[in-house]
């Protein structure tokens, strides 16, 4: 991002030091604020940044319909008409509230730390819809101070500019693009019914293969069958799997968890992580646990289903979000009221319910 012409614009190191100056100035401004109603937003490089799209944060189904049936201009006009009406909450809303709760607990324990969640609204909407979005954020008193309304431009560059650690959207194409650019991302869907979720503990559930780990083992299952898979996993038990798109997000959660442990808060830690995998503990589970250990990561609960459906278990866990690479599992989770997010990565995209899809269909997914 440094300029070819160095004369009037500073070189990279000057940029960094002027950035530090800027940040120090902003910090000072917020800290001097006489009515400290709002907490200071964290410096992006210290925070875990979650970018949510407007359609996942809020329920915009009706408005989306107007867009699809009547076009962009009518859509924008429609939004302006309803500007003072806040949107109803969307699929990522419970997740966002849970993040805010974790932040409140972190600020209690570490008042000066910037290792917090930072929630950014990342939307393709034109800025004119922005007023209604801001009104809605105000209505629910969400701590979302940063946003990006791209007016139709791709959000990918902006995701990087906002140092995004996780991106949630309803648009699977954007999610795919983000993953290809190395940003953890998942597609969310409108849920059927919702289970009552904890409002004191953020619960995040992850599938293993092709989510936390690469899809290398899944390829073996799909192409050579289960027996080969079991043999392979036993043979390579001590070789760590390669990382998957959401490994870094688990890592970020782990880092924040350790801040609670450091203050003796392990028992009521407001973050809990789950691994929910179709692998079985006996034959293929060891490799997974050893891989996590080699990465210095932990999950609070590792659940090996040995092929059983994930829906009922997730219904008991009640996560605020569940990540899986296979639509089959996403659908299973949703049927029993779990908020599920699809990670469009790896060999799983070419299969549906165990059968290989035609390439053209696979591209549509």
């Amino acid at each position: 991002m440094s300029n070819p012409d160095g004369s009037e614009r500073a070189g990279q190191s000057n940029y960094d030091s002027s950035e530090e100056k800027d940040w120090a100035a902003v910090k000072a401004l917020f800290d001097n604020s006489k009515t400290t109603k709002k907490p200071r937003p964290p410096k992006p490089s210290n925070a875990v940044t979650i970018a949510v799209s407007s359609r996942t944060l809020f329920n915009m189904i009706k408005e989306r319909k107007v867009f699809e049936e009547e076009g962009l201009e009518r859509y924008v006009a429609h939004q302006l008409e309803l500007e003072d009406q806040p949107f109803p909450p969307g699929v990522s809303f419970p997740f966002v509230k849970a993040l805010m709760n974790v932040n409140a607990r972190l600020r209690d324990l570490y008042p000066d730390s910037e290792e917090l969640f930072d929630i950014v609204l990342m939307t393709n909407n034109h800025a004119q819809v922005g007023v209604r979005l801001i009104n809605s954020i105000n209505h629910y008193d969400l701590t979302i101070e940063r946003f990006c309304m791209t007016g139709g431009e791709s959000p990918i560059g902006y995701l990087k500019a906002y140092m995004t650690n996780l991106y949630l959207s309803k648009d699977s194409m954007k999610v795919q693009e983000a993953i290809e650019e190395g940003i953890a991302a998942a597609t969310m869907f409108t849920g059927d019914s919702e289970n009552e979720l904890s409002d004191t503990q953020l619960r995040v559930a992850f599938d293993g293969d092709a989510v936390l780990f690469s899809d290398e083992s899944e390829i073996i299952v799909k192409e050579h069958g289960l027996d080969t898979f079991f043999k392979h996993e036993k043979e390579f038990e001590n070789k760590p799997l390669a990382q998957g798109p959401l490994k870094c997000f688990l890592e970020a959660l782990g880092k924040l968890q350790r801040k609670f442990y450091a203050k003796n808060q392990r028992i009521n830690c407001p973050i809990r992580t789950y691994l929910v995998t179709a692998r079985s503990a006996a034959s293929a589970g060891a490799r997974v646990l050893k891989t996590l250990r080699s990465w210095g990561l932990e999950v609070d609960e590792a659940l090996f289903l040995a092929g059983a459906p994930k829906g009922p278990l997730l219904q008991k866990i009640k996560p605020h979000i569940f990540f899986d690479d296979q639509m089959f599992h996403i659908e299973g989770a949703q049927e029993l009221g779990t908020i599920a997010a699809h990670v469009p990565y790896g060999i799983g995209q070419k299969y549906h319910k165990g059968k290989r899809i035609e390439t053209s269909d696979a591209e549509k997914k």
Binding site: M1, K38, V76, G151, G152, A161
Partner: protein, 272 residues
């Protein structure tokens, strides 16, 4: 309520010749090498072409005048030659002294004075001239779109949000500067708003952005509403709450960055 009558007549912008041409490189050609304002001029010409495409008799077009402060006759000649050489649509040339700048701009009804030099812009703003930074585009790709960024921190200022500006210990004087800058840019905003409305939300040759660097989301909402009142529809909006702006600017890659001198003011705030 803003007068919605169609303001006929051009939207006058002023550039300095040392932004349009690079006077530092040595060249054996008769024409001067291209300077930093080149992509801007090309973008402006694209907008004009699209406007005329829609309406042959369109009078609301960009008109660029070139200001040259002090230089030799030789350089003056080169400037005129170069403009011809590159086929640039420059309406007028003014060779004037620094002190005459304000009068020259006013008598030509210039709505925006552009410079790549922040101090120049700041000085102009202080003497009541509507001015903005001609942003140094990192790459010299010629875009089919003119991109303008307005500061949400300045535009979002209102009597309601006055309290939060005072809370952040901006002095009375700085507040006055913010208020004045906001008033100053209105004419430019109204005209470019009318231009923007000649096109729909998609495929427009003009892209209007609002960047709020430290103001809250309500300051940003206030900025959006202000521009709407002035008839200017915003395409992209960014609210940073103190996060570094340069990564965003690198992506937006604007031609014009109007921040009402706010950037300089923030530095003053830390010194006080």
């Amino acid at each position: 309520m803003e007068n919605k009558k169609n303001h006929a007549g051009p939207l006058m912008i002023a550039l300095q010749h040392d932004d349009l041409f690079d006077l530092n490189s040595v060249s054996t050609n008769t024409e001067l090498p291209k300077g930093r304002a080149f992509t801007f001029i090309k973008a402006v010409q694209t907008v004009n072409e699209r406007l005329v495409e829609q309406n042959k008799n369109e009078s609301l077009l960009f008109e660029v005048i070139l200001i040259t402060k002090e230089c030799s006759e030789d350089v003056k000649m080169k400037i005129v030659e170069s403009v011809k050489h590159y086929d640039l649509e420059i309406g007028k040339f003014y060779f004037c002294k620094k002190e005459e700048l304000k009068n020259t701009l006013q008598s030509n009804k210039v709505k925006l004075f552009l410079s790549t030099d922040r101090d120049d812009v700041h000085e102009a703003l202080h003497s009541g001239i509507s001015a903005a930074l001609l942003y140094d585009q990192a790459d010299h790709r010629v875009l089919k779109q003119l991109k303008v960024i307005f500061s949400g921190d300045v535009l979002g200022f209102s009597e309601d949000s006055l309290e939060s500006y005072l809370e952040f210990e901006l002095s009375e004087k700085q507040i006055e500067t913010v208020k004045a800058a906001k008033i100053c840019v209105k004419e430019f905003a109204v005209l470019i708003g009318q231009m923007r409305r000649r096109f729909g939300p998609e495929n427009s040759p003009i892209c209007i952005c609002v960047l709020t660097t430290w103001g809250s989301r309500n300051v940003c909402a206030s900025a959006l509403k202000t521009l709407r009142e002035w008839g200017l529809d915003v395409d992209e909006a960014f609210c940073l709450a103190g996060a570094p702006a340069h990564p965003i600017l690198s992506i937006v890659n604007p031609h014009i960055l109007w921040d009402g001198g706010f950037h300089n003011m923030r530095d003053l705030a830390t010194l006080s």
